[in-house]
Subunit: 375 residues, 2 copies
């Protein structure tokens, strides 16, 4: 809202813009049409996550300099894309709907049909509250931020709720599960439909060097690193008790193992594995989504892991759930970990999906995992 | 975090990317350099809010197809820009730091110096909690979302706090004041420095047709309209009591006029004007930032406004604060409103800044206004 002459003029300008501009992405049923005005470009490609990994789709230019791409028969889902214009990746200039994954923005759209609205579409159901909460880490000597989801109804009752700790992957931060993973939307929908128990979901920041996500910390607007220091060296795992204490002190929780779950994707799966193994009586529900499993640091939390898993086994977790895509680069590593679990007779459920190390899998895994908790 | 072969490969890829890529925006002291790879483009302009209204700055291309623009002597502040590449506006592909204003994304950066960190830079001070809260509007028969800031310490005490209701402008929504206006950051900093009282800040959605901001409602990912229906026709003003009741029921507030302030920008200033005039004993602090003032709808809340302002005058508000930029398109309208206030001997404070109807003014006004409240 800037530089307008009057509200009337502005209104008129909006109509003129609407008439001049193209709509992109244009989603109709199971098809999408993408449109970009780039009259001087030599080559424009679509980099979309509905394409095969690494595949780019060429757009075609008309005489007016408008590039188009269309695709049909897309399965119900959320899709992200960028354009590659003569070597430079940009988001769609005609859409305000972007998400940030590590340091890159992506435009997104949703393919739905009336019979099958995905669990991550916002529906007209009662909504929980999502908060950015800061806590003081005595061990790390810094303020740190987390996102906390509390279910609809929490504020109007005095009931206690179970807690899921939900951990992001490398390059992510405390916003990743809610923004890219659409966690609060999935929870609202599943809880409303009676498919998941009402629960608190805590999404901490797994990068111990960070206070908070890029742009929300006193570091300022720095470049976003895929690789923060001290991510998989045992520091986060050994500080996790502070987060649990903060949550049990701050919310009406069920502060015993049967009221706690922990799950994470990739690096967050690794964190979940080692935090639960080192604290066998803290969580009854454990979820490893496309996890790294092999030890990547030198720290006491990684010592004697087979023995720790035996102690965890004997504490009888209600659920030890491992999910991975058949194309995931961590597939073989997870297969070895499954063999290790089998060797010690640790019960677990294994879920294999297609595709690889991608958010569409993690939204799917979260949707499935939530329905198995606390019941 | 997608399609990587291994963590080591990913790490290596990041280094390679860093070596290949340019950094943009590159902010050093009071200068900024913008860089864009666009080898086939004929013309690239910068549309930045540090330039004069409507002005575009031409970028220059080198032999490698890289366009550059630099600017020195920028005052401390937050700046937004897009590139116009042969007629298409894009955000800077090299930065993940974007904000959405109505339906358009802008890249942003901050110019600071060590002696003068702007009030809207995230600092290492205690942080409040920001939540997305949903309430049921009986009058509008829909769920609606608001953002609520509660100050650091609220959760650890049983004190009651005053409340500022902070309203967005046309085209905005409940996220605008926190994202574009950086309200929670300004509050954290001013409260820590003792320049503002700890307070709750409620940022509702002023578009009665909307449940929530684009992308967060059950409408889906629709085009973002500057002009929602029923924005300035009295509906929002006449439903505002529901928001106050919800907040007084949900938080430890000081539920009397001396514990309440209302302020807004542009359309939100208009809403603040008419809500406070129709409820003369509800708010002791009123702020109109670049407000529309002339009646734009037919509704009882707009009737007999001079009489209502006299009743408000006789209720002795502690602060009636009007601010506008000298280049604002609403300048004359506000001047007439000031004359009207003078005619009825209504005390008010008038603050004139330079520039026009822009967020840099609204961040400034909020920073000043907060320091005058509840003390």
């Amino acid at each position: 809202m800037r530089c307008v002459i009057s509200f009337i003029t502005a209104l008129f300008a909006v109509f003129v813009m609407a008439a001049q501009q193209y709509v992109s992405p244009l989603v109709e049923g199971d098809s999408v049409v993408l449109t970009l005005l780039a009259p001087t470009a030599d080559s424009v490609k679509v980099c979309g996550d509905w394409l095969a990994a690494g595949e780019r789709a060429f757009m075609e230019k008309d005489d007016a300099g408008v590039w188009r791409y269309s695709c049909r028969n897309l399965p119900v889902g959320l899709y992200t894309y960028t354009y590659c214009v003569d070597g430079t990746n940009i988001v769609d200039p005609l859409s305000p709907y972007v998400v940030r994954d590590v340091g890159q923005l992506y435009t997104y759209f949703i393919v739905a049909d009336h019979g099958e609205m995905p669990a991550y579409s916002v529906k007209n159901v009662p909504h929980g509250t999502v908060s950015t909460r800061w806590y003081w880490s005595e061990k790390l000597q810094k303020q740190r931020r987390m996102m906390v989801y509390i279910p609809y109804g929490y504020e109007r009752c005095d009931k206690s709720y179970p807690v899921l700790y939900l951990l992001h992957g490398m390059g992510g931060d405390e916003t990743a599960w809610n923004e890219l993973g659409r966690a609060s939307i999935i929870l609202d929908n599943l809880i409303y439909e009676g498919k998941a128990e009402p629960m608190i979901v805590v999404m901490p920041n797994g990068n111990v060097a960070q206070e908070a996500a890029p742009g929300s910390s006193s570091r300022g607007l720095v470049a976003v690193n895929f690789n923060e220091p001290n991510t998989m060296d045992g520091t986060f795992e050994s500080c996790f008790d502070e987060i649990i204490s903060f949550i049990d002190d701050s919310y009406r929780t069920i502060p015993v193992a049967s009221g706690r779950a922990i799950a994470g994707l990739s690096m967050g799966g690794y964190h979940s594995l080692y935090i639960s193994a080192n604290n066998p009586n803290t969580f009854k529900y454990i979820g490893l989504f496309s996890p790294a499993t092999k030890v990547r640091g030198t720290h006491q939390v990684y010592n004697d892991i087979a023995d720790k898993l035996i102690v965890l086994r004997d504490a009888f977790p209600s659920l030890y759930w491992i999910a991975i895509g058949s194309d995931d680069f961590l597939y073989d590593e997870v297969a070895m970990f499954r063999e290790e679990l089998a060797r010690i007779n640790m019960p677990f459920i294994y879920r294999e999906s297609n595709k690889g190390h991608v958010w569409s899998n993690w939204r799917l895994y979260l949707t499935e995992f939530l329905q198995m908790l606390f019941r």
